[in-house]
């Protein structure tokens, strides 16, 4: 029978006390794991996601952080809209590699419905650098195709959406459904990004959503304004084409109400600037100002708007990938200097600032759980120390049958080590299980992907814990050493 075996049997003999001590250690370790996973997961997740775009163009009256969170993490409201023209400008900007439009505000069973272009699935990547559009079950919707959608993996799992299934969306968090239906044509692989919990529709269809019963409510003034805007847009398009020497390519879009589609993200320059006036709702005199439709409360930056043309509604944001990250500062400065209805924000800077604000809280939490582990360790020491008083006879018997002082010392220290080891193992398991349980919730609510797997950190925690166990075992072991043998074996005659 080894020293470790004797220590184990001693712990078994004091089951309840040992169990409670180990549980206190386990709780401390579990909390440490959960907090650390939360911290690192949040930082990694946000930073990884924020790297998706070099800049995001959003409305000037929205906060930069709000723009980033809404666009990239599908959290909160858009905070307003920016003119469609900003998107067209971005498309012809020579420094821009990708410009991805976003129009948000509708939901499907708690999941954000994002109007965007197929380019998004190419522009954004997961943490390992694989494009979101890779390994899709089914396919990505085509630009200009109507009423198709792609569903994030988690959104699909939670809503039961499968390929071929039709769905209807609601305004914001409301229960009022739009009349239009989309067919699921693809389901993204689990990417560990906020895209997992969103549903994507062609941005063209976003502008066709709506109750068109209010047709004809638009005033003559609004129609005139609308016509002027469209004329202006045509001129802008012609000018852009002339400047860039690009042939207009509107094939496949003659029935489309947008004509700006990206032809499946291959070339941004061949499909922009088509400010068509044949949008479905407008064809039948449906032009109107959003303010006329109080009934629609998007709560997402489209408040009071009625879905209509892209020029009327504008966009929630535009994701910008530049041809080189070096251009980032200049691009943002240029947008800022234009002082238009658009502001450019750098997602990584916003996320860095966000974590600069909240990281002290994270550090505080970490210290609190470290203190919990220390308290649990002290509890272990007190528990062992107190048992020594009741174990004098046991120690004396061990010594009488030949155990040397270092054997007794080793047994007691081993007990502390075993408590810390098993408490630590259970704590690691519980901690990781907790992370697994809360990960989907956090991904859904905050766009944070938590890594629940084991790693080197777990080994370090266990090693530190064993060192700690050694430390807290010293005092009780020293007390055990001082146990007089003869007088504790039995009364002297």
């Amino acid at each position: 029978m080894s020293v470790l075996g004797l220590a184990w049997r001693s712990l078994k003999q004091r089951r309840l006390s040992s169990l409670l001590t180990a549980v206190s250690i386990a709780l401390g370790v579990a909390l440490t794991i959960a907090i650390m996973a939360l911290r690192s997961g949040a930082e990694d997740s946000y930073h990884d996601t924020a790297r998706g775009y070099d800049a995001i163009l959003g409305p000037t009256h929205g906060s930069p952080l709000q723009i980033v969170l809404n666009t990239m993490f599908h959290v909160g409201d858009a905070g307003g809209t920016l003119p469609w023209q900003a998107y067209e400008d971005a498309l012809i900007d020579p420094s821009v590699r990708y410009a991805v439009p976003y129009a948000v505000g509708d939901m499907y069973h708690g999941h954000h419905v994002v109007g965007t272009s197929p380019l998004m699935f190419k522009a954004l990547e997961d943490a390992e650098g694989v494009a979101l559009g890779k390994d899709v079950r089914g396919r990505i919707f085509k630009a200009g195709k109507k009423w198709e959608c792609v569903v994030g993996s988690m959104a699909a799992a939670e809503t039961g959406l499968l390929r071929g299934v039709k769905m209807r969306v609601t305004h914001g968090q409301g229960v009022v459904e739009h009349g239009e239906t989309w067919t699921v044509v693809g389901i993204l692989r689990p990417t560990g990004t906020p895209a997992d919990r969103a549903i994507f529709i062609p941005i063209e269809t976003f502008y066709e959503i709506g109750d068109h019963a209010a047709a004809g409510t638009a005033t003559a003034e609004s129609k005139r304004k609308r016509k002027e805007e469209l004329d202006k847009a045509r001129k802008a398009k012609a000018k852009a084409e002339k400047e860039h020497g690009h042939a207009h390519d509107d094939d496949g879009h003659k029935d489309d109400d947008h004509g700006h589609a990206h032809d499946d993200d291959e070339d941004k320059d061949d499909d922009h600037g088509h400010a068509h006036d044949d949008d479905g709702p407008n064809d039948d005199g449906d032009e109107h100002d959003g303010d006329e439709h109080d009934g629609h409360d998007h709560g997402d930056g489209h408040e009071g708007h009625k879905h209509g043309t892209k020029e009327e509604l504008g966009l929630s944001a535009i994701g910008i990938r530049l041809k080189s990250p070096i251009l980032r500062l200049k691009y943002v400065a240029d947008i800022r200097n234009e002082r238009g209805a658009v502001q450019a924000v750098m997602p990584q800077d916003q996320i860095r600032e966000l974590f600069a604000i909240i990281s002290p809280l994270g550090e505080l939490l970490t210290w609190i759980v470290i203190m919990m582990v220390i308290v649990a360790g002290i509890g272990t020491m007190v528990s062992l120390y107190n048992t020594i008083q009741g174990r004098r006879r046991e120690i004396a018997i061990l010594r009488a049958v030949g155990a040397r002082p270092h054997h007794v010392f080793s047994i007691i220290v081993s007990e502390a080590l075993l408590l810390c080891f098993f408490g630590g193992i259970v704590g690691l398991l519980v901690g990781h299980a907790t992370v697994i349980v809360i990960a989907p919730y956090l991904l859904q609510k905050a766009g944070v992907f938590l890594y629940a797997g084991f790693g080197a950190l777990d080994l370090w925690i266990l090693l530190v814990l064993l060192g700690f166990g050694l430390l807290v075992g010293l005092l009780p072991a020293w007390q055990g050493l001082r146990t007089p043998v003869a007088e504790n074996l039995h009364p002297t005659d």
Binding site: I397, R399, A400, A403, R404, A486, T492
Partner: protein, 207 residues
Amino acid sequence: MLALDVPSLTLAPGERVGMRGESGSGKTTLLNVIAGILRADAGVVEIAGEAMTGRSETARDALRAKHIGYLFQTFNLLPGLTALENVQLGMTFRPRTGVAPRKAAEDALARVGLSDRRSYRPAQLSVGQQQRVAIARALAGHPTLVLADEPTSSLDATRAAQCIDLLLEFAEESGAALLLVSHDVGLLQHFERVETLELPVTEGSHA
């Protein structure tokens, strides 16, 4: 302070010696000094040619583990261990002899007739069974010397007789010398040689 007055006492290998003494005469103290649990201030204790006295506590512990089997009045079995583990405990701290401790413990338990109780804890055993486990523990490792301190005082007469017979037989089989202290004259009749321990004297009179 009192001091033990012990004249020269020598046990030959395999010899069985009873020691009689009144309560308070220091019988247990004498055994503890021989076992090295207590340090003798003066005098010499040697076991198999190795001096127990004059050694450090750790060295005395090691010598005790190597040579001595101790049978206590109150059995002193560890409550958290099974009968087999308690017997094994007697060999845990001994130098390795080539005999597997578990096998030796199983044999010893079989010798005292408790093979079927090997996985029982002391609380699940009768008093007589507990004492037999203690005998097995003291003798399983084939010690040079077995010290027995009032080993039957907790038993009734019948069980006491059975216990002493078992102890004597087992000690003889293993070749161990046996020194048993008791105030029970009847018990000491089993021994060919019986020594008497006088009451302690005031310190300084003897060493």
